[in-house]
């Protein structure tokens, strides 16, 4: 390994030797060996289990609840309803003061008098086993009065709509506008105006490990311990403190190994709060594992939206204006604590984000519905905005008569106009590298050859499509958003780095890892700073009792924010150690460097290894020439000061074949060129992109929570809600452009959502490209066999 002389690198700009190395995740090997510890793997003495009685109707009034028969069942300890739980637990009140016009009804952990979606929790039956609790739950009698419901967005919008919750007389939960009030000038002067309507089906995250929680209220110590499959333990500590009226200091929340999260495990759920409250009520440890059927009807849903968009372009294809309306389906309650508005807002605000758009206007409305609450799911609104934008770009390119790739190229936004900080929709965007990404992508896919092949095959009635999706991804979103909204959420990420006496390092981080590999990459980064093996760095995460205060995992923040915090902690730690070593070696600190865990001075190896430094500082501080013992624990926290978020960007392309007779889609090839800034570990980043893309393909082709007209979830099993499996997924070619963010010294942006943001748009444009000779188009996602055949057959009937 080549030693980089320290003097060449300013102290605050140290670049880790480990950055960029495709190091395997050795520390996660235990997962491959079945030695992980997920919530359901944990058992506490005296632990009880919950099964919930859930509402059978989309909207209903509870007339009475009888639990006597259930309580007679063997092993049953309690059957608790909403009124009883309300004595010790407050309902969620999810109305961020900073969101104008936002309104959501209070949501108690168990419904009291009124329930507003099928699957809402009504009674908690507590027993010695889950099976016994389920047996007894079947015997709980609830006398229901079914109430009129509003389920689809269209229904919720109509003047005669039933109120989703009796405390409101209409269902509008959010109304906001981005950009100008009037953009008509741009459209009046345009050479072409294209217009399209869009619809996006409801989805859910489908983590393979369902949500789960163990709550243990210790009545003697008056302390609450919670183990929860979750992304943000610190947030949950504050939530439980607020709902149960406890001091946050009396609560410890631990997120052990988490089997996938994708935003779904970012929220506070009524059923999980009920489990915690029941533990407090009974003074016993309570385990509640959401089963697959419950997860479909009660996990956060996402994406349901309708939109219309108009785009004005000049005769050469330059975009002159965008005018859009997005209607988003919120479900029955705003998801606690962050609300349900994020998806709607980003879906509208990020339309056109990669492009110079001229005039911009986007109106967004959010609608309460008698369906499960919607919340964050990987990408949060950005996949919708991207899909709308990319489809409009293709429509405009066709109207102008230029190649869709060229249409993108001439419209890309590279930097903001001089003197401005924000786009017309209010986005603050760093410099972008879309031109470079597209150039690299077109070379990788051999674009010209693909187009020639496509034309030849069309002669034989074979319809192949090539689709592009350029995207801008907001990463590391944080305080700049939540603070002004009045949400009590820490969005900085922290690192507490400790040098142990044996020379090993401990990194306690606020960042959490649900499989992304962030902890391994942080360990790699830290190890690189001292040139030691990654196994010399012990990572601690996901435990409010052991980690510094901070966010956790959402909006692709682990490396962008947590990595920078770790890097800064390393620099400070090293500065302190170099001060000591400089005294011992009688040289300037700037002349020192680490090689293989040892400080190298002007005369080469000094014998001052990390172990020696640890022993010196911890055990023999009197031997330090300056007499100054540097701190052996350093804590750093990071949030970009001048930016509300960091922006990644990239371009996707897909090649696929549509069978116009069967209505099926075969994915032939997939490419993405992504710019997430500094890549710490390409092995992790590339498969993170691929995984995101596959989820985006799922959104495009398969996934939809199908509700009947009366609000019954109709496809709530893994057999019926179709997610991508290996057999149908294409090879995905990943490449990078690297533009480090100027917001941090590390330069890493984020990559967690890049795949999911772009893939639905790429697949949509490719299918529409394939169908173009048939004069057919699809607009409603997912593009199922039925929807493709509907489009093809409707076009045939027009002929």
């Amino acid at each position: 390994m080549l030693l980089k002389p320290c003097a060449r690198w300013p102290m605050n700009k140290l670049v880790s030797k480990a950055v960029g190395a495709p190091m395997p995740r050795e520390s996660a090997r235990l997962l491959v060996e079945g030695r992980g510890s997920y919530v359901d793997d944990i058992a506490l003495p005296g632990m009880l289990h919950i099964a919930f009685v859930r509402a059978p109707f989309a909207h209903g009034r509870i007339l009475c609840i009888e639990t006597a028969d259930a309580l007679q069942m063997p092993g049953v300890v309690a059957a608790i309803d909403g009124k009883e739980l309300a004595e010790i637990c407050a309902p969620f009140d999810t109305n961020p003061p900073g969101v104008p016009g936002h309104a959501s009804a209070p949501q108690p952990p168990l419904a009291i008098e009124e329930s507003c979606f099928q699957g809402e929790t009504v009674v908690a039956v507590v027993a010695e086993s889950r099976a016994a609790a389920e047996d007894a739950a079947e015997l709980v009698f609830v006398d229901w009065e079914e109430l009129p419901a509003a389920c689809s967005i269209a229904e919720a919008q109509s003047d005669s709509a039933a109120a989703v919750h009796s405390s409101f007389d209409n269902n509008l939960s959010l109304h906001h506008r981005f950009g100008a009030e009037d953009v008509s000038d741009a459209f009046e002067n345009a050479a072409h105006v294209v217009e399209e309507s869009f619809a996006f089906g409801r989805q859910t995250g489908v983590t393979l490990e369902p949500r789960g929680i163990i709550a243990h209220w210790d009545p003697r110590a008056e302390e609450l311990e919670v183990w929860q499959s979750h992304q943000v333990p610190w947030q949950m500590r504050e939530v439980y403190a607020a709902q149960l009226g406890l001091s946050p200091q009396s609560i410890r929340v631990v997120a052990p190994d988490v089997g996938g999260a994708f935003g779904l495990k970012l929220h506070a759920y009524a059923d999980e709060l009920a489990a915690v409250a029941v533990s407090k009520r009974l003074g016993r440890p309570i385990k509640y594992i959401v089963d697959r059927l419950e997860s479909f009807t009660s996990d956060a849903h996402a994406r349901e939206a309708k939109a219309t968009c108009r785009m004005a372009v000049d005769s050469e294809g330059h975009i002159l204006g965008i005018d859009a309306v997005v209607d988003s389906g919120f479900g029955a309650y705003a998801m606690h604590p962050r609300g349900s508005f994020g998806e709607a807002m980003q879906a509208a605000q990020m339309i056109g984000a990669p492009y110079k758009v001229g005039a911009f206007r986007a109106e967004v409305r959010g609608w309460r519905q008698n369906k499960a609450p919607s919340g964050a799911y990987r990408g949060v609104g950005q996949p919708i905005a991207c899909a709308i934008t990319e489809d409009m770009i293709d429509l405009a390119a066709r109207a102008v008569g230029i190649d869709p790739a060229e249409m993108r190229r001439i419209n890309y936004r590279s930097t903001l106009d001089e003197g401005t900080r924000a786009t017309q929709s209010g986005l603050v965007i760093e410099e972008l590298s879309l031109d470079a990404c597209l150039a690299k992508l077109m070379e990788a896919m051999d674009y010209k050859t693909l187009r020639a092949g496509q034309a030849a095959l069309r002669e034989n009635g074979i319809y192949r499509g090539i689709g592009f999706a350029s995207f801008v991804e907001l990463t590391g979103v944080g305080a700049g958003l939540y603070g002004p909204l009045g949400l009590p959420l820490a969005a900085n990420e922290s690192c507490r780095l400790t040098l142990q006496p044996d020379g090993s390092l401990t990194c306690a981080t606020s960042v959490t890892d649900q499989g992304q590999g962030t902890l391994s990459a942080l360990g790699q980064l830290i190890a690189g700073e001292f040139d030691i093996a990654p196994n010399m760095v012990r990572m601690i995460s996901g435990d409010t009792g052991r980690t510094p205060y901070g966010g956790g995992a959402w909006a692709s923040r682990g490396m962008a924010l947590g990595g920078e915090a770790a890097r800064r902690a390393c620099v400070r730690m090293r500065d302190g150690l170099f001060e000591v070593a400089a005294g011992v070696l009688q040289c300037e600190p700037s002349a020192l460097a680490f090689d293989n865990g040892e400080i190298i001075g002007l005369k080469g190896p000094s014998g001052l290894t990390l172990a020696e430094m640890g022993a010196l500082c911890h055990y023999r501080p009197y031997d330090i020439p300056t007499g100054q013992v540097p701190p052996m624990t350093i804590e750093e926290s990071f949030l970009p000061l001048n930016l509300p978020y960091i922006t990644s960007n990239g371009v996707h392309a897909v090649h696929l074949e549509v069978d116009s007779e069967l209505g099926t889609v075969e994915l032939l090839d997939y490419w993405v060129v992504d710019d997430c800034g500094t890549v710490v570990n390409p092995l992790l980043v590339d498969e993170q992109l691929r995984g995101g893309i596959v989820q985006g393909i799922g959104a495009a082709l398969y996934e939809e929570c199908v509700y009947s007209e009366d609000g019954q979830f109709t496809n709530g099993t893994l057999a019926d809600y179709v997610v991508p499996m290996a057999g149908e997924m294409p090879a995905i070619h990943v490449d990078h452009i690297t533009t480090p963010t100027r917001a941090s010294g590390l330069g890493a942006k984020g990559v967690g959502e890049a795949g999911t943001v772009g893939a639905p748009g790429a697949v949509r444009t490719a299918i529409n490209d394939a169908l173009s000779p048939l004069a057919a188009r699809v607009a409603k996602q997912p593009f199922t066999t039925r929807r493709i055949l509907e489009a093809v057959m409707a076009a045939e009937n027009l002929e």
Partner: protein, 287 residues
């Protein structure tokens, strides 16, 4: 999602199993269990008694005779798939089995169990109807043989009475030169088919001597397309005939209304699927 309580008996012999079925109001046979145990977990099935036949000796035999292949009630899909002799004698079964679920399911799931369950989207019932298999039902009253073409009555409805057990499926060995016809449309590999075609065509001396084709997945039960055979018999395979036959398939099916596709869409899909699998089958048959 834990199953309700039920009693369990491990049958030691066929008689033991049959007498238990005869003596219990609400008993159900557990063979492969790949549909049953899922239904138990979901509490879609809440039987009083589960009769496990997995340890009854002798039920896992595949007998390959000159005229027919006899498949016992514990023959797993994987076992049948791995039997070269069986798939050679029954090429349609060999072609259809890889479409049945996934390896772990095929390791346990039984061919007879799939027949007895009568899932309209399953491949084995369609093959049994296409090949004219005979199903043997046993009870304490004795055994009876039912033609597969009579056995499937509707959605999960068969001629099997609750106290009866399907103890054998007898498939006629394919005549020399007979070709399998099989394809299906499913959302993903191994999923239940949304629609499919299963059949066997026999071209002898340049003309179609036999052709049995079944539509499944979109119908309440496998549908033998008799008119298709009527059109085909005695004719020489050619592209024009394939077009006619494919249209006949589309005309003859009665697809159920489904959120996945309208009947009109199903007919379109059938026509295309038939074109493809008939081209594939007849190209070979021509040689």
């Amino acid at each position: 999602m834990k199953s309700a309580n039920f009693a369990y008996i491990r049958a030691t012999s066929l008689d033991h199993a049959l007498s238990t079925l005869a003596n219990t109001e609400d008993a159900i046979v557990l063979a492969g269990g790949q549909s049953l145990v899922a239904a138990l977990n979901l509490r879609l099935q809440v039987p009083e008694l589960v009769v496990d036949i997995n340890h009854v000796p002798g039920l896992d035999q595949i007998e390959i005779g000159d005229d027919e292949v006899r498949i016992g009630p514990l023959v797993r899909h994987a076992q049948l798939m791995a039997s070269d002799e069986a798939t050679k004698a029954l090429p349609l079964i060999g072609k259809a089995l890889p479409h049945v679920a996934h390896p772990a399911i095929r390791n346990r799931g039984t061919t007879c169990g799939s027949l007895a369950y009568g899932d309209p989207a399953a491949e084995m019932p369609a093959c049994a109807v296409a090949l004219g298999a005979t199903l043997v039902l046993a009870s304490t009253d004795g055994t009876r043989e039912v033609a597969a073409r009579e056995f499937f009555e509707g959605l999960y409805e068969t001629q099997r009475a609750p106290h009866e057990m399907l103890i054998e499926a007898r498939f006629p060995v394919a005549p020399k030169g007979a070709r399998p016809v099989f394809d299906e449309v499913a959302a993903r590999r191994g999923d239940f088919a949304t629609l499919g075609l299963a059949g066997q065509i026999h071209v002898d001396s340049g003309v179609i001597a036999a052709f049995d084709l079944v539509a499944f997945g979109s119908e309440p039960a496998p549908l033998l397309l008799e008119n298709v055979a009527d059109i085909a018999l005695g004719k020489a395979p050619n592209p024009g005939l394939i077009t006619d036959l494919s249209q006949a398939v589309a005309d003859q099916v009665h697809p159920m209304e489904s959120p996945l596709a309208t009947p009109q869409m199903r007919r379109r899909q059938y026509r295309a699927l038939a074109e493809r699998c008939l081209h594939a089958a007849m190209e070979f048959a021509d040689v």
